[in-house]
């Protein structure tokens, strides 16, 4: 089974070709301004090794920061409409009231608040008024907007209002692309609605990005099905993933963690991914990244949804050290490291220079750091050790020692021993762990909705069947599906013994 994994990061684009458990080829190229030419270059390199494996490539997995970047840069976003079904609640805080002005201007929203929604116990707040939705839909149609986010109070408990409203909107705007907040977010109306709106604003970009990747693959002569990596450590068929671009946010660090798991064979460990400017520390549980349980800001917008729990540290291979005070960071030379760091002929003292001086790694011109005072070098490394130890300790969930895996281009900065770590593991190919993680990803399917008028067993069976179908639609092999999580909560004040059931299944990619 041969796969190509590509991870497009802010600094580098990494690619690997793997055949079963063997890494056939790997490459790291700078991420280009247009992103795509970097991908093409990486692809050309690994695809060139195709001949060394007997059969054609089975699948291509791409992880990308495209969507996060669009939000951060306020570019390539489309105009959206918001329909919130919650009146009389929230009348005073309309959708997007706390978005940064420039981002709001970039999506130029048309906003509607209508009656409806539910209470915490699942009973209706006030009846939804279909004519209000229809009227909003007509105005949206007349404004030429086709991407719409719909939210409703307590929709994660009772999806009814959002689902019905979507039907009404579609009857008015047949080609509408609709994001329902309950499919992405959690309890917390403003944050869930924000996620849905970001997702709506990225619909066109999702489509064009997938098309561009698809063209690049065709140019490279790769005809295999292709997938986008998601931030929960899985992949989805590109066309499916294109409709939920927000699920790609922070998929890069997730890919690194998954790659680290694969390289070490560990499924429960902490992973530190050291980049050029920052590092991320995350936690793998059962081979998947632990999810953040709190508000995460994306481009200045408060969100609460499925995101990996990461702790960023201002420490990377390009982090600047003040020669006078030996203070480390937070500024970094970033991608200019190859011209600005001392060992590469530049004039700026960076963490990489100190590492070269201490003999932790051999790169650039070692003679250029010969003059550094050994005591200064040792003091700087001690500070780096403290930064790593503090952050590692913060991300641990228990007092027990756990293994720490160091990956990323700057992994040499991670000390041999870290307090609280049972061991510090380094692996070959750690520099392309992210691309490996992408290549190794599996496919998942999730259902989170309310079932009523049936027994608990029937509801669980129905939810599981639907989750399996979703996984298969995303490209999973039905026979390989395993149930990862099952959770059910009975809901009071609803007829027919309603319960909310959440099921997540995971399986291997289906190859035709």
């Amino acid at each position: 089974m041969k796969r190509i994994g590509i991870d497009v990061g802010g600094t580098n684009t990494d690619a690997v070709l793997i055949d079963g458990e063997t890494i056939v080829a790997s490459i790291k190229v700078p991420t280009t301004q247009d992103v795509l030419s970097g991908v093409k270059a990486a692809l050309a390199h690994v695809a060139g090794h195709r001949d060394s494996v007997a059969s054609p490539i089975d699948a291509v997995m791409i992880g990308t920061t495209h969507f996060t970047n669009a939000v951060v840069e306020r570019a390539r976003l489309e105009r959206v409409a918001a329909i919130r079904i919650a009146l009389p609640t929230g009348a005073s805080l309309p959708p997007m009231c706390d978005w940064p002005e420039d981002l709001r201007a970039a999506v130029d929203p048309l906003i509607f608040m209508v009656h409806g929604g539910h209470e915490y116990d699942g009973s209706p707040l006030v009846p939804m008024v279909p004519d209000e939705i229809r009227e909003a839909a007509m105005k949206i149609r007349d404004a030429g907007i086709t991407s719409i986010a719909i939210s409703a109070t307590f929709s994660p408990l009772t999806t009814e209002c959002e689902v019905k409203a979507a039907e009404i909107v579609r009857s008015v705007i047949p080609d509408a692309r609709i994001t329902l907040s309950h499919t992405l977010g959690r309890i917390g109306l403003l944050e869930r609605e924000n996620v849905a709106l970001l997702n709506a604003a990225l619909q066109s970009l999702g489509k064009t990005t997938v098309q561009a990747f698809s063209d690049a693959l065709r140019e490279a002569g790769v005809t295999a099905p292709f997938f986008l990596t998601q931030n929960d450590g899985t992949v989805a068929l590109a066309d499916v993933a294109a409709t939920n671009p927000v699920h790609s946010f922070a998929s890069g660090p997730t890919n690194s963690m998954r790659g680290a798991a694969w390289l070490t064979g560990l499924t429960d460990a902490m992973v530190v991914d050291v980049g050029g400017t920052t590092s991320d520390i995350g936690c793998l549980a059962g081979g998947f990244p632990r999810e953040a349980n709190n508000i995460v800001h994306v481009g200045g917008v408060r969100t609460l949804f499925r995101m990996p729990d990461l702790l960023p540290i201002a420490l990377g291979g390009g982090t600047i050290i003040d020669p006078a005070t030996s203070k480390i960071g937070p500024r970094s030379v970033g991608y200019r490291i190859l011209t600005e760091a001392l060992v590469f002929g530049g004039e700026t003292l960076t963490t990489s220079d100190v590492a070269v001086a201490a003999g932790l790694i051999d790169m650039g011109d070692r003679d250029r750091v010969k003059g550094l005072d050994p005591a200064f070098v040792e003091a700087s490394l001690a500070r780096i050790r403290d930064m790593v130890a503090d952050s590692f300790d913060q991300m641990k969930t228990s007092a027990e020692d756990v293994p720490l895996i160091a990956v990323g281009g700057g992994a040499f900065l991670i000390p041999e021993t870290v307090p609280g770590a049972s061991e510090v593991l380094r692996v070959e190919n750690a520099g392309v762990a992210n691309a490996l993680g992408a290549a190794m990803a599996q496919v998942s399917g999730e259902v989170d909705q309310v079932f009523s008028g049936m027994s608990r067993d029937e509801a669980l069976a129905k939810a599981e069947a639907e989750a399996r179908n979703t996984a298969v639609a995303s490209g999973a092999d039905r026979a390989s599906l395993k149930t990862l999580e099952v959770e059910d909560i009975p809901i009071a004040y609803l007829p027919g013994g309603a319960r909310r059931v959440r099921v997540r299944v995971i399986g291997d990619i289906a190859f035709s």
Binding site: T89, G90, S92, L93, Y120, T153, I187, L190, A399
Partner: protein
């Protein structure tokens, strides 16, 4: 048209709050929330929306209003978890105000805050702004407490009924009489459940001289100054914890890492215990903090050192931002700051209601933190 009201204060004494003031208040109210009181963020958004709509948020010192002016205290009541989903309609507070005026057939002159700690710092500001009234610069707790009878207004004899409770649908409930403050709390809790888990409640108006005498003074200016201190220290890359302490006569009593966290629900309250292992100057020591919605008891090496009603505040050791009980997690590095509560919370009368025994610690005797040295204003 009603006749133009005769103002019982001089408009020159009003301070109009700015956007920056609200950002600072959000942090300051979080600090004074001592871990509880709900998140002021949504309340801040409501206040900002009112500002955008052209309303002015004004505060007034309690000694700059005529003693017989009629002042109405107001706050939100309900479950914080419901409020993140079921956002206020926005006019609940002003409906309480109008319903109260109708009930007592007298216009209200100013609005008062029940609880400066947490989300209840913001909602009265919106009520005052929409009602065209000033907000008195004081509150009934100087911090956050879980129940209504725990205000200094109630403690020193003001009966909080008749009260008015309004929900977002427009339902108005009047409690004409409760035989005790605890009964009022109990009935209002039952009512808010029926209203879907969130409402605004205005208590029986007080005269300004009573508010001046028994309110915790300068709550808003203090909370804003606290927030400003944190923001300023962070900008200047100075220690925000020291800045907080300097303002409120507080003391950093511990720097620690959370090594254990126990939480459970008891009688509707979030109860728990945080264990800390010291670092920096406190290396080798352990401490623990008992939680009951707020941080209640601080023990060092097993010995009780600070207790409610003094303020036990947990701040992020680097940013100085307040940490609420629901944000706690293993491995977090926190600074514990103890701030002396106001004298009004330290009397025998007050300790009956807000002392350790009132929270289920009859074995612990309150021993007050040294009071801050009084500065000339």
């Amino acid at each position: 048209m009603p006749e133009p009201r005769k103002l019982k204060y001089d408009v020159a004494d009003l301070r109009t709050l700015t956007r920056e003031d609200l950002d600072a208040l959000e942090i300051g109210a979080g600090i004074l929330g001592t871990g509880g009181g709900g998140n002021p963020y949504q309340g801040k958004l409501l206040a900002l929306e009112a500002m955008k709509a052209g309303y002015e948020l004004k505060i007034l010192a309690t000694d700059r209003i005529e003693p017989d002016a009629l002042c109405m205290a107001i706050g939100g009541i309900g479950a914080p978890v419901v409020s993140v989903e079921r956002i206020r309609e926005g006019r609940e507070g002003v409906r309480c105000l109008r319903a109260m005026e109708e009930l007592i057939r007298t216009p209200i002159d100013a609005v008062v805050c029940e609880e400066i700690g947490g989300s209840n710092s913001m909602s009265p500001l919106v009520t005052a702004a929409l009602g065209g009234l000033p907000m008195l610069d004081c509150d009934g707790m100087g911090r956050a407490f879980p129940e209504m009878q725990m205000t200094t207004f109630s403690i020193y004899g003001h009966s909080s009924t008749p009260s008015v409770m309004c929900d977002l649908h427009g339902n108005t409930v009047i409690f004409s009489h409760a035989v005790s403050e605890v009964w009022h709390e109990r009935m209002a809790r039952a009512c808010v459940v029926a209203q879907g888990g969130g409402a605004m409640l205005a208590t029986a108006p007080m005269q300004a001289h009573y508010v001046h005498q028994y309110g915790i003074p300068k709550s808003y200016t203090k909370a804003i100054a606290l927030g400003e201190a944190v923001i300023r220290a962070r900008k200047a890359q100075e220690d925000p914890i020291a800045a907080v302490c300097a303002l409120e006569g507080g003391r950093r009593i511990f720097n620690g890492k959370i090594t254990d966290l126990k939480r459970h629900l008891r009688g509707g309250f979030a109860v728990g215990d945080v264990a800390l292992a010291g670092f920096d100057d406190f290396a080798g020591e352990t401490a623990d903090v008992a939680i009951q919605n707020e941080f209640l008891i601080f023990r060092r090496n097993g010995m009780v050192e600070v207790t409610v009603p003094d303020l036990i505040v947990l701040l992020d050791v680097d940013t100085g931002y307040p940490i609420t009980t629901e944000m706690l997690r293993y491995g977090q590095r926190v600074a514990v700051v103890a701030i002396p509560c106001h004298e009004l919370l330290r009397t025998v009368q007050a300790l009956d209601v807000v002392g350790p025994a009132a929270f289920g610690y009859p074995e612990i005797t309150y021993s007050p933190l040294p009071s801050p040295t009084r500065k000339a204003a």
